[in-house]
């Protein structure tokens, strides 16, 4: 259970071990929630939670431990604000494979706006796994810990996330229909 009686030692330990991962926490929240204000609020909330539960963290990967809390806070926020219907998209393998046009793709890859938009259009589960892998540099083991998924499913989930991102980069217009948003 949480405790409010963390002492000075705990506090400085928290500041030394957990606070350095604030950027990672904010980046994940930013990509899961979309807006900067929401991301700031939820990150602060998650940090406070992490602090309250700090006595449950003994040793190991502090970043993964923190990001797991951040992720939970984000999903709670998304559900409360009805931004997201809880469907586990990772189980939905029906990604139509469009005819790829390499030129369009190559152009999109050099366009920050389009990349951002495509990433934001991905379902949260695919988005978080790509953000953790490509932006945060997490290992499969860390991603599995953060997203509470079996490590064996991470590889194929990443494969599908990348495939879907490519599809969105080529044909951004038809995404609502595909993702059922």
């Amino acid at each position: 259970m949480a405790t409010d009686v963390l002492n000075e030692d705990d506090r400085s330990r928290f500041e030394a071990i957990v606070m350095p991962h604030l950027d990672a926490a904010y980046n994940l929240a930013r990509w899961l929630l979309g807006g900067r204000n929401e991301a700031e609020d939820v990150t602060q909330d998650a940090m406070l939670r992490a602090y309250r539960f700090f006595n449950t963290f003994h040793s190991g990967d502090a970043r993964a431990w923190l990001l797991q809390i951040v992720r939970n806070c984000c999903y709670t926020w998304l559900q409360k604000n009805r931004k997201w219907v809880d469907v586990d998209e990772l189980d939905d393998a029906s990604v139509p494979r469009e005819k790829e046009t390499p030129e369009t793709l190559a152009i999109s890859l050099n366009d920050r706006e389009r990349l951002t938009r495509a990433l934001e259009q991905l379902s949260p589960h695919f988005r978080e796994i790509l953000v953790l892998r490509e932006l945060e540099g997490c290992s499969y083991k860390e991603i599995a810990a953060i997203t509470s998924r079996p490590i064996g499913t991470i590889m194929s989930a990443l494969a599908r996330a990348r495939q879907q991102l490519r599809v969105l980069l080529i044909a951004p217009a038809s995404k609502e229909a595909r993702l059922g948003l």
């Binding site: 350095p20 604030l22 904010y26 980046n27 602060q44 890859l109 990349l115 499969y140 194929s156």
Partner: protein
Amino acid sequence: MGCELAQTRLHAYLDGELDATGSADFNQHLRNCPVCAGALEEEEALRQGLQQARLYSRAPAGLKLRIAESLPGIRAQKSAGLGLISWRWFAVAMALLLAAFVGWRQLSIGNQRTAAVVAAVDAHLRSLQPGHLADVQSTDQHTVKPWFDGKLDFAPPVRDFSSADFPLLGGRLDVIEGRTVAALVYGRRKHFISVFVEKAAPDTSWSGSGEAQGYHWTAWNKDGFTFCGVSDVSSADLNRLKELFIQE
């Protein structure tokens, strides 16, 4: 058309998640499978696009301060009262003092290696202050290596690993526990990695790997040098850089 591995193993290969044997096997497969070779190229282009687009959002400056202020700490509990209660606090303070003293004694008696790691992590943290990252900024190993000439009593091995997404960014001198060491700076996406290099010595060198102050570190030996990599990248990434050094 198609190869089953393009949707599965290819990704573990791309992400550096295969062990040495698995990686060698897949390399072999790539030579014989045009589907996978093409798919790998596509995946690498996608990754490059994602990484070059500067999509990482760092926390705004004010957020850290706000969080630090909002953490309920012992400072917020001062209103507990005086008199008898203060004796309890006195006892607690004494106990903490004793614990701190014992801890300090153990640390100082304990192995120097721990101290060397802490010093390396501190040096890395210092380097992250504005303007402290590198004394010589260059992505060219043939510029960075001669820069160390005459500044150290050894010539540190300097390699660029841009092709593996660990671009060399420069080098600097650092003092670790009174010894001058070479520090090579590598980039990994938005993160920095310091690789400290010194002549291997049995009593003073780094060894092993772990996490300190929220940063990962890993140490290794090669060709009479001891290396210690420190960064906030994942331990998997740090290990990959270590492998690159060892394979050189």
